[in-house]
């Protein structure tokens, strides 16, 4: 749900609307309540304390399924540009509000995060993930997705160790399944098979235009039809309300799960009606 972060792949107009609207905690809470009342019960989102608190305040912890995306890279990259890698790590630490949370990280881990970040990328990502999962885990997610920038960074560098470490970390620490968001689905699936890493949840752009479906649409469609993975389609539509054609394309491929950027109750209502048809 990049809408809560104030970003959009549909248009800058929507991104700005989202940024303005969702800067208010109250607006977020109202919107989540509206979505749930219309039958939308799954939210995919990076760590967002306002979202988490809204779900709790509405008493929807066991009713809305959260698909977390970790770590919240956008904020970290912004901090890294302004404060350097060490400063970014420290700022991330400061956002942990709970004492049990800090204790869970281990004081050693906290003190050494900058050094860890400098030496061991996978450990740094897992510590950042844990910082976010301290709160996100209270919403009982079944799968946690690695942010696409991290997935694709590791994938580009053939970093088998990183994928193996992350998958194992998530399973052991939280007893849930790892998922990977990516903009390079074909390469990721090929590599996971080659490395014998068992991770079946993949979130990637799947749309009737072929956008970000490298090397081409036909190859990606073939991979999906081969089965063995749970595909979650992202970047499905170019409009604020997905069109029938967009959904028809996903249905043809047998895809049941998709993420949509819905930023208003009216759009959600229109979409709910399209889904009913």
């Amino acid at each position: 749900m990049s809408v809560l972060e104030g970003t959009s792949n549909i248009s800058p107009k929507y991104a700005k609307q989202f940024a303005e609207k969702f800067s208010s905690d109250e607006n977020v809470k109202i919107f989540i309540g509206q979505l749930y009342s219309m039958g939308f019960g799954k939210i995919m989102s990076p760590y967002n304390p306002i979202l988490i608190n809204s779900i709790k305040d509405l008493g929807l912890e066991h009713k809305i399924e959260i698909l977390p995306i970790v770590p919240n890279v956008s904020q970290f990259v912004r901090d890294m540009t302004n404060y350097g890698a060490v400063g970014a790590g420290i700022r991330r630490l400061k956002r942990i509000s709970s004492l049990p949370g800090l204790i869970s990280l281990g004081l050693t881990g906290i003190r050494h995060l900058p050094q860890i970040a400098m030496k061991d990328f996978k450990a740094a990502i897992c510590i950042m993930t844990h910082m976010e999962m301290l709160e996100l885990n209270k919403l009982n997610p079944k799968v946690v997705f690695l942010h696409k920038q991290m997935t694709d960074l590791a994938l580009a560098n053939d970093n088998k160790e990183f994928f193996s470490f992350f998958s194992s970390f998530v399973r052991k620490k939280y007893n849930i399944e790892p998922g990977f968001m990516t903009n390079n689905m074909q390469i990721l699936i090929k590599k996971l098979k080659e490395w014998r890493i068992n991770a079946k949840y993949i979130a990637a752009p799947i749309n009737r235009y072929g956008y970000c479906m490298n090397p081409n649409k036909a190859e990606i469609e073939k991979i999906i039809k081969e089965g063995g993975i749970v595909t979650i389609a992202t970047d499905v539509t170019t409009t604020s309300v997905p069109q029938g054609e967009d959904l028809k394309y996903l249905k043809q491929l047998g895809i049941d799960n998709a993420i949509f950027e819905i930023g208003s109750a009216s759009d959600a209502y229109a979409f709910a009606n399209i889904l009913k048809k």
Binding site: E5, G6, T7, S8, N9, I10, S11, P12, A15, K16, A19, E20, S74, V77, R78, M80, T81, N82, Y83, G84, A117, M118, K119, D120, F121, K122, A123, Q149, D152, L153, A154, L155, A156, N157, D158, N159, E161, F162, N183, N184, I187, N207, Y209, G210, Y211, C212, N214, D235, T238
Partner: protein, 348 residues
């Protein structure tokens, strides 16, 4: 085809991005890296970027056989990197802007010309499909003769005093104009051509010694005018927005990172009616082998690496980079002198 051997200088955010994009190419590989901070060596290795580590580029090039260097260092350092690579006839990609000032940019351009090395400067916007398509639409005359343009580059990044090199006038050469304004100027040159005059430039220093906002007016050879608004201190823009609204005699075009909208009516008030044409970025193909870092980056690096060993040149080569630097220089001059400044295009 022989695998191209690439070195990366500067292991910050951009260095890591470029290294990763190169490593994802079938015919290229990062074989060496360089940074003054020795401590970064282990970090990049743990990311999977495996190349021999050197603290200096001179040492790296003395010991390694390299086809191309990609340098992601403060822009004041670019001229030194260019001297080293030109002397060894090693092709060089410099992150944008070409330099921190016009004098250094001219030196870099001359080094490229005299050495004959393949070169590029990192204006990744050249490869964002919507802007390339918009340039085609204007060239084909769909909106007629250009009358006026409103352009903006916005990012929500700076809301207090900062201390890193990007905010140091001597090192970076400037603030928001160097960081995001330069990309916008590149897009404008791609679509509208080279401007001939900066009529007015007002720079606003809200938090730092470099400008945080810029308000500019420019003029073109065909008599059309452009108003430019740049800010990295504006709320509501988590991702950088580049947007042009171009008014022509036959219609209005709005183009940004995500879409192109064409309106048939000429009047501004009527622009709110539905566009006659909408082209979304999803409908345009980007020529890249790997999607990382956002639109344009993969295609940019692929184009540069593929140009090695043949006659092709990068869309954003050092000549283009120099012309953008000319425009930037004129903007800063106009702001200081509080008057119009002519812009002279460098043509080889």
């Amino acid at each position: 085809m022989r695998t191209k051997r690439v070195a990366i200088v500067g292991l910050g955010k951009m260095g890591i991005l470029h290294a990763s994009i190169v490593n994802a190419m079938p015919d290229a590989k990062v074989v060496a890296v360089s940074d003054k901070q020795k401590g970064l060596k282990n970090q990049v290795v743990s990311m999977g970027i495996k190349g021999a580590f050197y603290e200096s580029l001179e040492d790296l090039l003395a010991r390694e056989s390299i086809d191309a260097v990609i340098a992601c260092v403060p822009s004041s350092v670019n001229v030194y990197i260019a001297k080293i690579c030109a002397a060894r006839k090693v092709s060089l990609f410099l992150e944008k802007p070409l330099a921190n000032n016009l004098e250094n940019a001219l030196s870099i351009y001359e080094l490229g010309k005299s050495s004959g090395i393949k070169n590029a400067v990192g204006y990744s916007v050249a490869h964002i499909p919507t802007f390339a398509k918009a340039a085609e639409i204007v060239k084909d005359g769909m909106i007629g003769k250009i009358v006026s343009t409103k352009a903006k580059a916005y990012l929500s990044a700076v809301f207090s005093k900062q201390s890193t090199w990007q905010y140091n006038k001597r090192v970076a050469g400037g603030g928001c104009m160097m960081a995001i304004g330069s990309h916008l100027l590149f897009i404008m040159k791609m679509i509208l051509g080279m401007p001939v005059k900066v009529k007015k430039a007002k720079l606003n220093y809200k938090y730092n010694e470099v400008e945080d906002e810029a308000d500019i007016e420019m003029e073109y050879k065909d008599g059309s005018e452009a108003k430019i608004d740049v800010s990295w201190s504006i709320h509501g823009y988590q991702d950088t927005l580049f947007e042009l609204e171009i008014e022509g005699t036959k219609g209005i075009m709005i183009v940004n990172n995500n879409e192109i909208l064409i309106y048939s009516q000429k009047k501004k008030e009527q622009k709110e009616s539905a566009p006659v044409l909408r082209v979304h970025s999803f409908q345009l193909k980007e020529n890249t082998h790997f999607n990382l870092g956002g639109p344009g980056y993969g295609a940019q690096d692929l184009e540069f690496i593929q140009s090695l060993g043949n006659v092709a040149t990068a869309k954003s080569d050092w000549l283009e980079g120099l012309n953008i630097q000319q425009i930037l220089h004129s903007i800063y001059e106009s702001s200081e002198n509080k008057g119009p400044v002519a812009i002279h295009e460098i043509i080889p």
